[in-house]
Symmetry: C2
Amino acid sequence: MQIPETLQNAVDELSKLPGIGKKTAFRLALNILKSDDDKVKSLVLALEGLKSKLHLCKNCFNLSEDDECDICRSNKRDKSIICVVEEVSDVIAIEKTNEYSGTYHVLGGVLNPLMGVTPESLKINELMVRLNNITIKEVILALNPDTEGETTALYLAKRIKEMDIKVTRIARGLPIGGDLEFADEATVGRAVLGRIVI
Amino acid sequence: MQIPETLQNAVDELSKLPGIGKKTAFRLALNILKSDDDKVKSLVLALEGLKSKLHLCKNCFNLSEDDECDICRSNKRDKSIICVVEEVSDVIAIEKTNEYSGTYHVLGGVLNPLMGVTPESLKINELMVRLNNITIKEVILALNPDTEGETTALYLAKRIKEMDIKVTRIARGLPIGGDLEFADEATVGRAVLGRIVI
């Protein structure tokens, strides 16, 4: 027996999603098949909405349903601090902590010349325009602590310092709840180098 | 910052799927958001197709794009043998083996009085009608070897034997590649009881 084409098609489409293999896709497809029409309709509408309703904020390139995102429009946020992140998901990760009340700038990736990602393919020029136009006290670089993230941070720091703006980056060290014994050498090494007075 | 409602909505809908938690749903939603319009469209169409194009075969309740499924319509299948299974996914599991050339009957579940699943809620009457109408040589019960599966198998065996039709069930024993030492007692016990002459 051939699996019905419609089912196979749904399995193929679902397994294109990240972390979803053929077996999981199959289980999802059979589950959707068994669900009520209403449930499937609301799933489909929600997925369509993602593409049709969400845009990037014209200012900081965060996700938004309008031209400008909630953070850029808010009066409660400190507009003189910009936190530079790689992706929209990083904005959400930082927002969840409730520790930051400035604004953001989403680069849309990190520099990776081998993969053809140059400063021009990221929102770096847009960041420079923002830094030129309004008075900025501090730029926080919150990029991932990997090779590409570090390279991008160094590149940005160099360009921003030329404009006489304070550049900081988020701390590296042992994660909260982590264990010195089991941490990798690079992390422990950075934690020692980055020690602070208490 | 509030996560945009459209995104939250998609995350909520995706996390209703089995095995998809909030974090995975979030990752999927962001991935869909980044995909091309075409890709999202084909995903959405494929999911809609599941509900709109697939029906249950009027005969055996397997999935089909037509009134009757491929297996019931095929001339190559032995119509005098019916293999009774719990779910559509079981049909696919057996078909993958290429060891069976008869037809199927999908019950749509197993008897479970505590959960309110009675013989009337399953496709048991439909099975009896099939057994009455055409000459059937053998009914194979391929239900899962758990309590509900066993109960359903016993119930079906009793009713089908009254009609003077041979009833068999698929073998239980050590799985291929399994290890006697590490198999559970119930499996080893059944394997000993079910030994065959070689």
